[in-house]
């Protein structure tokens, strides 16, 4: 069995096992073990990868995504173990729902790995649909009024997005058929990209618009983002971490693949300006929305929209440097945002609420957790010397000469977002202690592991990794 198959088989088997095994301790450990095994197998892809088949392939681009996904998947499973233990104690989750939750977690990992490793645009679509269904079920798992509404909203908007993406996929097949011929080959990614120059440009253009709207909904780009804050706020926090840190990336990855396809056709429209526009709108809009948030998870959900906007902007600008910046920013955002959600999960459990007004003085009452959250927010706001500062700096400098006005708007968005985040952080972390102050029993290892990585990346990135990213940036065109 090759490594690519293994990153699919391990989560699939684990999902089956977790669905039937009873007992919290065994299943939480099994969940961690499966995620860790998947991560190790994914790492082995750096050293040797199988030949591309009609369904699966690994190249320099998706290798980065797969390793990032399996890594954050593993650390989140560690966080999830301590988070879920608390939820069981206070009775928010029952053991049968826990089994369901763990099984769905592995189904989600399977779906995301499949979407990333797929060499077939049909399989990729199916995988993203599966990931959507799994997350819808997990968002609604608490079965409260708000959770149900969030799940319903996510389900409806996500399905519409996914339906539009399928229409775009069908159009790509129609465009490819005359030159490649009927059958499987006309949906195989490696074949498509090598023959893209001969495709009908008009069909490709229309297809891309559908794909942008469809997968863009899943990325959370404004104005298609309405599902995102609700889904983040009402689901279990590990799911918020995986949604923000990984699933948004997976949808963006799909979009990037099709962008490459259009770039390979000289007569098709350049997809850059469309992505740049949506990126800037998302970033600026979300930055303003940060101000009036009362719920801590909703606030960081809007921050995710802002950062996905910045990343989409960078990829839309294109060119080796901007693509490099986009890739780096995506990696840094995944690590930082999931670390923040780890912290937020523990904060919400300590305080027994997600309302910002009921939290206060966290650095005094729970110093480790409080300063962890402060560090996370400092990182996500883009202050030096952490990783996000560097990637944002690169995004801005690499685009400034080409689009000075747009870049100024983007920088304004970043600054407005920064101020908004610190305004709220001030209430939560400093000042008069408010709300319960019991010590959390949680494990802080995943959170600080992520923050340490982000910190190191802000100061020093290994030359091999830089070379790898530069190579991928060139691939993206």
């Amino acid at each position: 069995m090759s490594a690519v198959t293994a990153i699919l088989v391990v989560p699939a088997l684990a999902a089956v096992l977790l669905a039937v095994l009873p007992g919290y301790r065994i299943t939480a450990r099994l969940n961690m073990l499966a995620a860790f095994a998947t991560f190790l197998i994914a790492l082995s892809l750096f050293f040797g990868r199988p030949q591309p088949g009609p369904y699966l392939h690994v190249d320099d681009l998706n290798n980065v995504f797969i390793v990032l996904t399996t890594f954050v998947g593993f650390t989140t499973s560690v966080f999830s173990a301590s988070y879920i233990e608390h939820e069981l104690e206070i009775g928010r989750l029952t053991p049968s729902f826990l089994r369901f939750y763990h099984a769905m977690y592995q189904v989600l990992m399977f779906a995301m790995n499949l979407a990333l490793a797929a060499n077939n645009i049909g399989v990729m679509w199916v995988a993203i649909e599966l990931a959507t269904l799994a997350t819808v079920l997990m968002v609604g798992i608490y079965r409260t009024h708000e959770a149900l509404e969030a799940a319903w909203k996510y389900f409806i908007l996500g399905s519409v997005g996914i339906a539009l993406a399928l229409f775009g996929t069908i159009l790509i097949y129609m465009a490819a058929r005359p030159s490649i011929g009927e059958g499987l080959d006309a949906m195989v990614w490696t074949v498509l990209i090598s023959r893209a120059a001969a495709f009908d440009p008009a069909l490709l253009n229309v297809a891309f618009v559908f794909l942008l709207l469809g997968y863009g909904t899943k990325v959370g780009l404004a104005p298609l983002h309405a599902w995102l804050p609700d889904a983040h706020a009402e689901g279990p926090t590990p799911i918020s971490a995986v949604l923000s840190g990984l699933l948004l990336n997976v949808a963006l990855y799909a979009l990037l693949r099709f962008k490459m396809l259009l770039a390979a056709n000289p007569h098709a429209l350049t997809p850059g300006p469309l992505m740049v526009t949506m990126g800037v709108i998302s970033a600026v809009f979300a930055a303003f929305m940060l101000y009036r948030r009362r719920d801590i998870k909703r606030m960081f959900a809007y921050s995710s929209i802002e950062h996905m906007g910045i990343i989409t902007f960078a990829f839309g600008m294109g060119g080796p440097l901007a693509n490099f910046a986009g890739l780096l920013h995506m990696t840094m955002h995944s690590l930082t945002k999931s670390a923040i959600f780890f912290a937020v999960g523990h904060v919400a459990q300590v305080k027994g609420t997600q309302r910002i007004a009921d939290m206060g003085g966290l650095t005094v009452t729970n110093p480790v957790l409080g300063w962890g959250l402060v560090l996370g927010v400092v990182a996500i706001a883009g202050l030096p010397p952490l990783g996000i500062f560097m990637s944002e700096f690169l995004v801005v400098t690499s685009t400034f000469t080409r689009q000075p006005w747009l870049t100024i708007v983007l920088v304004l968005g970043i600054l407005i977002g920064l101020a908004g985040l610190f305004l709220r952080l001030n209430t939560i972390a400093f000042g008069e202690p408010r709300g319960p102050t019991a010590e959390s029993k949680a494990s802080y290892v995943p959170m600080f592991a992520h923050l340490a990585l982000v910190f190191v990346a802000g100061i020093y990135i290994p030359a091999d990794l830089v070379a790898w990213f530069q190579n991928v940036a060139k691939l993206l065109g």
Partner: protein
């Protein structure tokens, strides 16, 4: 033969658009479900015809699934839910019948203009099919927007999926996706019916989404 094959495919796909329009203005849930069953039936016929014309026997499976699940099982199941919940009263609509029909016509015109223009090179059968399919997709979207009732939205989504199946079968020789996407649409329908409607009932004793609108955006 070529002429009649084209005409029948054209007729069936056109009927699907027509039935979509019929769905738009139904203001009773029972009637809406019946029309949806007709919608799925026409889709099954259309897919079966494509299977025959293209000589692609696997498409008969798709047609059979559309016939059995979408035209019979799901409408019957939704019917039962409606009976058990006692919600067979009128559907609330955000916009009136006239506006909905006008919007629908605008969307169909848009679909025709876009698809016919960009597919000039493609073979005529696939071309017209694609234009009709996009019309059905857009009308499904419009229906989801104009309904506030959960059952109405689910029906809207399923008719949108019917449009996608029409597009996928019209694209000659498209591999594997038809089966998988149909399986997925059934899965979605089951998830919606099984989990959401029952959970909504268990919590609020209603499937009227207006009851859910208490939570809008921020918690105070």
């Amino acid at each position: 033969m070529r002429g009649i094959a084209f005409d029948i495919a054209h007729l069936l796909a056109g009927s699907l658009v027509l039935v979509s329009f019929l769905q738009l203005y139904q203001d009773r849930l029972y009637a809406l479900l019946n029309i949806f069953a007709v919608h799925a039936f026409v889709l099954a016929l259309s897919v079966a015809w494509q299977a025959y014309v293209q000589g692609a026997p696997h498409l008969y499976v798709t047609a059979l699934i559309a016939l059995v699940f979408k035209a019979i099982v799901i409408p019957v199941a939704l019917h039962r839910i409606i009976v058990r919940l006692g919600i067979h009263r009128e559907i609330e609509k955000v916009v009136g019948v006239g506006t909905a029909m006008l919007l629908g016509m605008g969307l169909v015109a848009l679909a025709m203009v876009v698809m016919l223009r960009v597919t000039e090179g493609a073979d005529p059968l696939a071309r017209e099919d694609l234009a009709f399919a996009l019309s059905v997709v857009l009308l499904g979207l419009l229906m989801m927007v104009t309904r506030r009732n959960a059952v109405g939205q689910v029906v809207g989504f399923m008719s949108l999926e019917n449009g996608l199946v029409l597009a996928a079968t019209g694209a000659k020789g498209m591999p594997l996706v038809v089966e998988i996407s149909v399986a997925f649409s059934i899965l979605i329908a089951f998830i919606v019916i099984g989990i959401f409607l029952f959970r909504i009932r268990e919590r609020f004793d209603t499937v009227d989404l207006q009851a859910l609108d208490r939570f809008r955006g921020e918690r105070q």
